[in-house]
């Protein structure tokens, strides 16, 4: 991609949307990656030759997908309202979640992932507990009691939530606290589940997030990672420049590794290149600046009470 002028960058040359080029210099478009690879790594006098371009595109996209899963740290954020059915459909480009939060009173409250099941598919049965089928032989299904109880606030789970002591107050008289109930009786509290925030469970097969009943009519903020494929719009697919060399190394390795007659030492060399470049890029992207370290170190002399 050609370099753009300041006017193109800030104002998109007067076109809409104005912000389409903001921050674009951090990224290399997929089309550039493929073209550069074809120019620099493919040829009669190169290690890679006689390879169809769709092979290169495939491996370039796979490299970008892999980077998006764990290395790029580029999360997408979506905000939705949870309706009475306590269910939110996963975003169309969702691959995995990073954090799911309740947004309330100007604060983000991170939700706990419920390790217990809170949804189920219910098979209809007759009085003798025989499973019922439709005329095509498929099992008849309905709303499960588990789902019903969750939606109607009847489902109990291992998460304490507010707990029975929440909101109970004492009296501070003559520099002493007094309580109208016994305190200190919650021995053996499981701190893992002692959280007041609502919970969620992702039903991957159905493509939805099921929430606990206290999320009804609340706003949820979902932070998630995608695979960077931008809904199949190749023109929008790009990768951070820190990973550009890694993508070339990945493509080269993937092609050489699958090509017949390539010496093993050549494949190993390509593999080492790829791994080393991934490590380098991860270190670069972790942004370890002296200034940041200094900021963290300032906490070392803090007095702990």
């Amino acid at each position: 991609m050609a370099f753009i002028t300041g006017y193109q960058y800030y104002e998109n040359s007067g076109s809409s949307p104005q912000d389409s080029n903001w921050g674009s210099y951090q990224y290399v478009p997929l089309a550039d990656l493929v073209r550069n690879f074809e120019l620099m790594y493919v040829g009669n006098d190169k290690l890679v030759n006689n390879v169809p371009r769709y092979n290169i595109i495939f491996h370039a996209k796979r490299a970008i997908q892999e980077l998006n899963y764990d290395a790029l740290k580029e999360t997408k954020v979506v905000e939705l309202t949870v309706c009475d059915n306590l269910r939110v459909v996963l975003p169309p480009d969702y691959v995995n979640w990073v954090r799911i939060s309740l947004f309330k009173d100007g604060t983000l409250f991170p939700l706990n992932e419920n390790v217990q099941v809170n949804y189920a598919k219910s098979y209809l049965q007759d009085n003798d507990c025989n499973v019922l089928f439709d005329e095509e032989g498929d099992v008849l299904t309905g709303t499960s009691l588990l789902d019903y109880e969750r939606i109607t606030s009847g489902l109990r789970d291992m998460y304490i939530g507010a707990g029975k002591m929440s909101g109970r107050e004492g009296y501070f008289v003559d520099d002493q606290w007094y309580f109208s109930y016994p305190i200190g009786g919650r021995y053996g509290l499981n701190t893992e589940t002692a959280n007041i925030n609502p919970t969620f469970k992702i039903d991957k097969a159905s493509g939805v997030i099921n929430f606990s009943s206290d999320m009804a009519d609340q706003i949820v903020v979902i932070e998630y990672v995608s695979d960077g494929m931008e809904g199949g719009e190749d023109a929008n697919v790009s990768v951070n420049k820190m990973f550009e060399e890694y993508v070339y190394a990945y493509i080269k390795y993937a092609i050489l590794n699958n090509k017949f007659g390539v010496q093993e030492y050549v494949v190993r060399r390509a593999q080492k290149d790829k791994s080393a470049l991934l490590r380098n890029a991860k270190i670069r992207l972790s942004n370890i600046h002296p200034g940041r370290l200094l900021q963290n170190m300032r906490g070392q002399s803090k007095w702990l009470k």
Binding site: A31, D45, P52, R53, Y54, I57, G232, E233, D234, A235
Partner: protein, 252 residues
């Protein structure tokens, strides 16, 4: 406006015309001098033109095989650089036949390739290059999320002299870059002198050889072979074969 490759081709063609304006006449004179000893093997202009066309096509096609051989040699580090860069020399000759043409969509959703194309270098849709895919793979390619052709990365399949471009929404702005076949050489004459036709390079249908002057010995050898077969003269045929063998051995 001409594309760079068109312009380069034109410049090279102009170079050939200016520097070797009557190469075809020179070749004909040499062929006749060898074959027509004692007025035994006269070749008519019509026959000569037929042999010349075959000879030129033969040598032209051989350029691609020689190019491949020299690429292999280059990779084995037995080829040099600068004046010893044979690969580059061969590329220059082949590139002199490089040209481009805008393709238009037919009613059957295909694009017709130019009639003079010999080797398809590239199909472009705007500034994007289309990938050539075999008919066996195009369905798999279009059904895969990661490889499905897009306007950024289009693909095409070839059926004879037609191509089908994917995605099929692309219907304009398609250009073919290709190596064209050399034009048929034509030795022309206007009048007779002493019973012999007199060369006339101003004739409307005159066409010189398009190969470099350095190929003149090879052209002579090849034409002699055809002429030798035609007039049942084994000596001429053998001489042509021997000359060609010597020349090609020298060229590697």
């Amino acid at each position: 406006m001409s594309t760079p490759s068109e312009m380069e081709g034109f410049i090279y063609f102009y170079y050939l015309c200016v520097n070797f304006p009557d190469m075809i006449n020179s070749v004909r004179n040499t062929v006749l001098a060898i074959a027509n000893k004692q007025n035994f093997g006269y070749i008519t202009p019509a026959d000569f033109n037929l042999y010349a066309k075959q000879a030129q096509l033969d040598i032209f096609e051989d350029y691609f095989y020689r190019y491949n051989q020299w690429v292999l040699k280059q990779n084995s580090r037995v080829s040099g650089s600068e004046y010893a860069d044979i690969v580059r020399n061969l590329e220059e000759v082949i590139d002199s036949f490089s040209t481009s043409s805008t393709l238009t969509l037919d009613s059957d959703s295909t694009f017709d390739l130019p009639s003079d194309f010999y080797f398809l270098t590239e199909i472009r849709s705007g500034n994007n290059t289309a990938d050539r895919v075999s008919n066996a793979n195009i369905l798999k390619l279009t059904l895969s999320h990661l490889t499905a052709p897009t306007t950024t990365f289009p693909a095409y399949v070839m059926n004879g002299s037609q191509i089908t471009l994917y995605p099929t929404t692309i219907d304009t702005g398609v250009t073919a870059l290709y190596i064209r076949r050399p034009l048929d050489p034509r030795w022309t004459y206007a009048s007779f002198s002493g019973g012999e036709p007199v060369f006339n390079e101003s004739a409307a249908d005159y066409q010189n050889f398009e190969l470099p002057e350095t190929d003149e010995p090879l052209l002579v050898s090849k034409i002699l072979q055809y002429a030798g077969i035609s007039i049942r003269e084994a000596d001429i045929y053998q001489a042509g074969v021997a000359e060609e063998t010597t020349t090609t051995q020298k060229q590697g």
